[in-house]
């Protein structure tokens, strides 16, 4: 066990993957010599060489498009998109090519490409550096979309993502990069929780609070803050597509109330899918509608307004309270 930041845990996970399989590669803007703007790939080029850790030209479609070609050749590229807001030039390669290739080829082609995306706000950044674009990808069948929330999970999730034969969009909560946690780097990977399973972070009985990525910690803090009045079960979804409905449904059927929190705009966000699905699966158990706490139907605001835009402990608790007002 060692105490690592989330960033370092990812770094260690990537290192493990590079060591374990010579076909694993890392590619992206500034991932090599600089080690990435968040240092997630720090030192990897030095140790594994320029052929395996590739500083690419500045072109996101190029990164994903060539990664697809490398995967066709048997490689397992792990691509970094420098910030959430810069994934969009790669949308076509991701949605029309990466997601569909297995289906198109009737299973003859696997594209084990991982796309790492630092995501979310709360760091006082300029435009396009604080977005939460997960819902754009959860709608695309063929992609796995996952989000890590803490160091220990990040360490194993990144390795599981790389080991997966499916393309994986891997969201990293950038404002949690420097949060520390105990990471067992000696545990075998197959003891880790599978990539497509949600995780009950805090058991509870009165209401189910669902989240992922940066807000998991906020949700736990919120739950603790009201622990004396209410027993809040906090679930870290981990897998955003496909959703682990078994875990979610079991919880909501028990608690009868459900709140989903994410940073992305509520409108047409992932919370919508969760709410719709949970309602269908747990209709007779629900005491209140599934409520959503999230970003507003506006573009991400200038950073001096982000504290208002982002769900914080109070807004999450407000959502929980509303769930009890029915």
């Amino acid at each position: 066990m060692s105490k690592l930041t989330l960033s370092k845990a990812l770094n260690e996970g990537l290192r493990r993957a590079l060591e374990a399989d010579p076909k694993v590669m890392i590619m992206g803007e500034d991932v090599g010599k600089l080690g990435g703007v968040f240092r997630v790939t720090d030192g990897l080029q030095k140790d594994f060489g320029e052929h395996r850790v590739v500083d690419t030209p500045l072109a996101e479609s190029g990164i994903i498009g060539t990664a697809i070609g490398l995967a066709l050749r048997g490689y397992r590229p792990v691509c970094e998109i420098q910030f959430d807001g810069f994934v969009f030039p790669a949308t076509d390669q991701i949605i029309s090519q990466l997601a569909k290739m297995r289906y198109r080829s009737r299973g003859k082609i696997s594209l084990p490409v991982v796309i790492r995306i630092p995501c979310g706000g709360g760091i006082g950044a300029v435009e396009h550096h604080s977005e939460s674009p997960e819902a754009y990808f959860t709608h695309a069948a063929g992609l796995r979309v996952v989000a890590c929330a803490d160091a220990a999970d990040a360490y194993s999730m990144i390795q599981l993502a790389i080991a997966s034969d499916d393309p994986v969009i891997f969201f990293e909560p950038k404002r949690r990069y420097w949060d520390k946690g105990e990471v067992d780097t000696t545990a075998p990977l197959d003891s880790a929780q599978p990539l497509d399973r949600a995780r009950v972070v805090l058991a509870g009985t009165d209401v189910t609070l669902l989240s992922y990525g940066p807000l998991v910690r906020t949700c736990v803090e919120a739950a603790m803050a009201v622990a004396r009045e209410r027993s809040v079960e906090v679930i870290d979804l981990r897998s955003l597509s496909p959703l682990d409905m078994a875990t979610i449904g079991e919880s909501v059927r028990r608690t009868g109330r459900c709140v989903v929190a994410h940073e992305a705009p509520v409108y047409s966000g992932l919370g919508a899918e969760i709410a719709a699905r949970v309602t269908e699966a747990c209709f007779y158990h629900l005491e209140a509608p599934v409520l959503r706490v999230g970003g507003f139907a506006t573009p991400y605001p200038p950073s001096r307004l982000e504290e208002h835009y982002l769900p914080d402990l109070d807004r999450i608790l407000d959502g929980v309270d509303r769930a009890f007002s029915y």
Binding site: T56, S61, G65, T66, R73, S105, P242
Partner: protein, 364 residues
């Protein structure tokens, strides 16, 4: 746009001309290329007819582009990898793909059911330009494998050159010196857009701005296409990086079977190009130079007839996929969400069968 600088080894009249930079490969099997061109043209003709008869949803004709495709396709070694667009039926032929695999796609039975690695021929790519990056990435893989006897070729059209992805592929291939040949069939049309809607200078020049050589070849001259491609592939294998080949040709048919080219181009323009037919010139050359006689030509026509019949028959009997195949091959690792959908849909389908059986049993 001028046609100067066009590399040619065989004139439209079928006369051999020499080009010191591109000596004819002694081993080049000209008769074989002739045969290939005749056969793929037959595939094309049959497919168009099948579409007319409702057996295919669509067909993209290669008419007029046989030399570009057979010349370049024949320049590939078995180890080279090819990335097609959606019109490369001639290249598919050279890669040993059964034409029925292509018909499946245009019939709507599959989206490409061949094994790309087995044939060293990737799936057709319909989104314009996307495959140029895949090819470049594949070539970067070859570099990492230090596989010095392999190269990649990627096919795309004149229209595709405007897509950002194609320029990105040029930039990457150049920066990484990747062993990839960019083979642009400039058939002068992107549906209704003439070539000057994509560039005001000849397309092969695009490469120089990215730092690698571009060459323009007579795309209706199978020998020239073969020689130019062979050389570019060899350069790629030898570590000299990418080349852009612009095969200057003409789309003789409609864009696809749903297109009506009379809306945007003159029949007389098409006529000019009919005189440059890629098959006719080889035929004259072979005949005039005494390399082939009427027996040879007749044998190939007979072979084409057989092939045509096989395609007609084969196409009509291509089986439709079973409904539940809809749910296969989305994820390698499976998905509980999808399993649930499959199960529900299976039950739904079964409910009809049950109704049908019940009705039947009730004698209705």
């Amino acid at each position: 746009m001028t046609e100067t600088g066009l590399i040619q080894l065989l004139t439209p009249e079928g006369e051999r001309v020499d080009n010191p930079a591109y000596p004819l490969d002694e081993a080049a099997d000209i008769k074989g290329m002739y045969r290939d061109m005749v056969l793929v043209r037959r595939i094309d003709t049959e497919a168009i007819a099948l579409q007319r008869h409702g057996e295919l949803g669509l067909w993209a004709s290669l008419l007029g582009q046989e030399a570009a495709q057979i010349g370049s396709g024949r320049a590939l070694t078995p180890k080279d990898m090819a990335f097609p667009s959606y019109r490369e039926h001639g290249v598919a032929w050279c890669r040993g793909l059964d034409p029925l695999r292509l018909l499946e796609l245009f019939r709507g039975v599959s989206n490409g059911s061949w094994d790309p690695e087995e044939h060293k021929f990737h799936l057709y790519t319909i989104v314009i330009g996307d495959q140029t990056l895949h090819a470049t990435g594949y070539a970067m893989g070859i570099q990492r494998d230090a596989a010095e006897d392999e190269a990649v070729i990627v096919y795309f059209g004149d229209g595709a050159t405007s897509q950002g992805d194609v320029s990105e592929a040029f930039a990457w291939a150049s920066v990484f010196n990747a062993p990839v040949v960019f083979f642009c069939q400039n058939n002068q049309w992107a549906i209704s857009a003439p070539q000057d809607r994509q560039s005001r200078v000849p397309l092969y020049q695009r490469a120089s701005g990215f730092g690698f050589p571009g060459v323009r070849v007579d795309g209706n001259d199978v020998l020239a296409c073969h020689a130019v491609t062979r050389r570019a592939l060899q350069a790629a294998r030898e570590g000299q990086g990418p080349t852009l080949i612009e095969a200057y040709t003409y789309r003789m048919g409609a864009h696809t079977t749903t297109d009506d080219p009379t809306r945007y181009r003159l029949a007389s323009d098409v006529e000019v190009w009919r005189l440059r037919d890629p098959i006719e010139r080889v035929r004259s050359y072979l005949a005039r130079s005494g390399q082939a006689d009427s027996t040879f030509f007749a044998a190939i026509d007979a072979e084409a007839n057989e092939l045509g019949e096989r395609i007609r028959e084969g196409c009509r009997t291509l089986p439709d996929p079973a409904p539940l195949e809809l749910f296969d091959h989305v994820y390698a690792g499976g998905s509980a969400i999808l399993d649930d959908e499959r199960e529900r849909y299976a039950a739904y389908l079964e409910s009809f069968e049950q109704t049908d059986t019940a009705l039947e049993e009730a004698g209705l």
